[in-house]
């Protein structure tokens, strides 16, 4: 286990280095001068030059990147250019809110997607199967921001069941229950695509699992269909499902940008959106890096879970 974990952690560091470099380089290509953004349109050339000097923007790119990396290792992510606040103080709470949203969406994905796929697989080519697979194909093709607007229009504006936006009721913040109420719409909307993907994958791995020889052996021994499907076949199909769920976490973290903007959810996605328009380099770098960290960690955990699930690979991981 230790060797495996070390190797995977080493790989993780490389991936994150790559991500930080990529974000750094992309931001160099984006038009606009951070100093000018900071000082506004009326700034004098001298003032801009001074700020550029101050921010180290006159240094060669390599030096800027190494500076940034050094700060990263010390846990210092600089200050936001727009808000005179350390990046960590801005980004961490937002990351927490995004994780709450993504977790909510993930719960919906699992509770809806997996059973949907299992039921479709056991009723292959039935009306239910075709209906569910058509819906999931449609779901996987829907643009999230459109789904979000439609959801707001129906459930918040016309039916009035749920709040339109935000994380808490501003006038009357009501703790956890209030949070859940505000979470339903954005989480459900964010969950549409991953639920569809998970349902389709679950169906196909379950169809395959149900055709295995040992399933026929169980039938020949009189084991009930329910036991066969939910105990044996699903257990066999679980590893690929866990893997795809790990990947969907990545999709959720990236995809919530739209959701957070439409629902005014105070998360990292919304923050990134405003920071990109404001050319607020340190926040963008930190935000993308954190999303990458969460994604890589979740997938590492998923891989370990997969290895532990299968008795044939369990020994190797241990």
């Amino acid at each position: 286990m230790a060797g495996y974990l070390l190797r995977r952690l080493g790989g993780m560091v490389l991936v994150l280095l790559g991500v930080s470099l990529l974000v750094f380089l992309i931001m160099q290509l984006v038009p606009g001068d951070p100093a000018r953004t900071l000082l506004g349109p009326t700034a004098t050339a001298e003032a801009i030059a001074a700020v550029r000097q101050d921010l180290g923007l006159n240094q060669p790119l390599v030096n800027q990147y190494l500076d940034y990396l050094g700060g990263l290792l010390r846990g210092d992510l600089n200050n936001s250019l727009v808000m005179a606040q350390p990046v960590t103080e801005i980004v961490f709470p937002k990351l927490g809110n995004t994780i709450i949203l993504a977790a909510g969406a993930l719960v919906i994905c699992l509770v809806v997607g997996v059973p949907l796929g299992v039921l479709a697989a056991t009723r292959q080519y039935s009306l239910f199967d075709r209906g569910a697979m058509f819906l999931s194909l449609a779901g996987a093709s829907v643009p999230v921001y459109w789904a979000a607007l439609v959801a707001i229009s129906i459930f918040a504006l016309q039916l009035g069941w749920l709040p339109t936006s935000g994380m808490y009721d501003v006038r009357n913040p009501g703790g956890f229950g209030d949070l859940l109420l505000h979470l339903v719409l954005p989480a459900a909307t964010a969950a549409v695509v991953p639920t569809a993907v998970i349902a389709r994958l679950t169906r196909s791995v379950m169809v395959e699992a149900l055709q295995q020889d040992h399933i026929r052996m169980l039938r020949a021994n009189g084991v009930s269909e329910r036991q066969i499907v939910w105990r044996h076949a699903l257990r066999n199909a679980l590893p690929p499902i866990v893997n795809i769920v790990g990947l969907q976490v990545g999709y959720l973290l990236g995809g919530v940008i739209f959701i957070e903007v439409v629902f005014s959810w105070p998360g990292l996605g919304g923050q990134l959106y405003t920071s990109i328009t404001a050319n607020d380099m340190p926040i963008i770098q930190a935000g993308v890096l954190f999303i990458a960290v969460v994604f890589v960690v979740v997938n590492l955990v998923a891989d370990i879970v997969v290895a532990l699930l299968d008795p044939r690979t369990r020994e190797a991981v241990r």
Binding site: D213, R216, M217, N221, G222, R235, N236, L309, D310, P311
Partner: protein, 341 residues
Amino acid sequence: MEAPLLRVEGLQTHFASELGTIKAVDGVTFDVPRGGVLGMVGESGSGKSVTGLSILRLLGSRNATIAGGRILFKGEDLLQKSEAEMRQIRGGSISMVFQNAMTSLDPFFRIGDQLAEVIKLHQGLRGKAARDRALHALELVRIPDPVAKLKSYPHQLSGGQRQRVVIALALACEPDLLIADEPTTALDATVQKQIIDLLLDINRELGTAIVMITHDMGVVAHMCQTVAVMYAGRIVEHGAVEDVLRSPEHPYTRGLMASVPRLHTEASAAGRTRQRLYQIGGSAPLPLRLTDGCAFAPRCPEVGPECWTVDPPTVGFRDGQEAVCHRRAEETVEEDLRVRA
């Protein structure tokens, strides 16, 4: 005579296909007495496996239907049973073992748990009692170190051991009948012999009747009392093993017997006139049966004009041996005439 343990009467199992209805099993009738061992031989696609699956109603495909016949087990028609009743019978009083020994166990569960699941299902035993029963089943199939094997996963066992565990699963609840569908196909030759001998011992010690589905005449000769030869969904010849193997009557059975390699013929021992192994020309047909007539006609060395158009009659020989063939029918008539004259 005592009623047989299993009596299959006129079984018809059909598959719907784009080409039309495929009669995979087309009017098959046979008996298995209590404690008897019946061999079912035939090449791939002859309907022998489908017959086995039909008995337990495990066809599993929505295209497959049992279109006719009766399957009387202890006098009760299995085709009239509900699905819940069938589940009690499967693994309880009739068990089945399949050919893929390597993949017939769930890789995610320990051997002991897989055995306990079936034992709990049919005998209502739990905990220690179920574990003891599982251990007993493993001892029955003579697995080395059975106590440790209870905690093993399938991948930790060899192919032969896995097939032993599969047989233990099938026998855990002491069924009256075991249907073994080519149980040794995926195994090494030496292990095949061990598994066959194990099945024979179980038959002798527990009195479990066995339907042995195989394409191996050697296996039939070694372990069966009666044999049914299937071709294109029908039984073309059946009888006591000694009779059928010594004097096969149907041209197909004769072809099968001639294509069994022999080590001790004088010619091969001398090593001079090396003979090519006999081979039945052509290949097994899809049992679509668009016209009447004998399905074996296209490949039959003795084919005559009537074989193409008229269903062949069943001809009886000594000791209940029967073959379904025009040629044999003619010969018996000629024989009769000669005897009378």
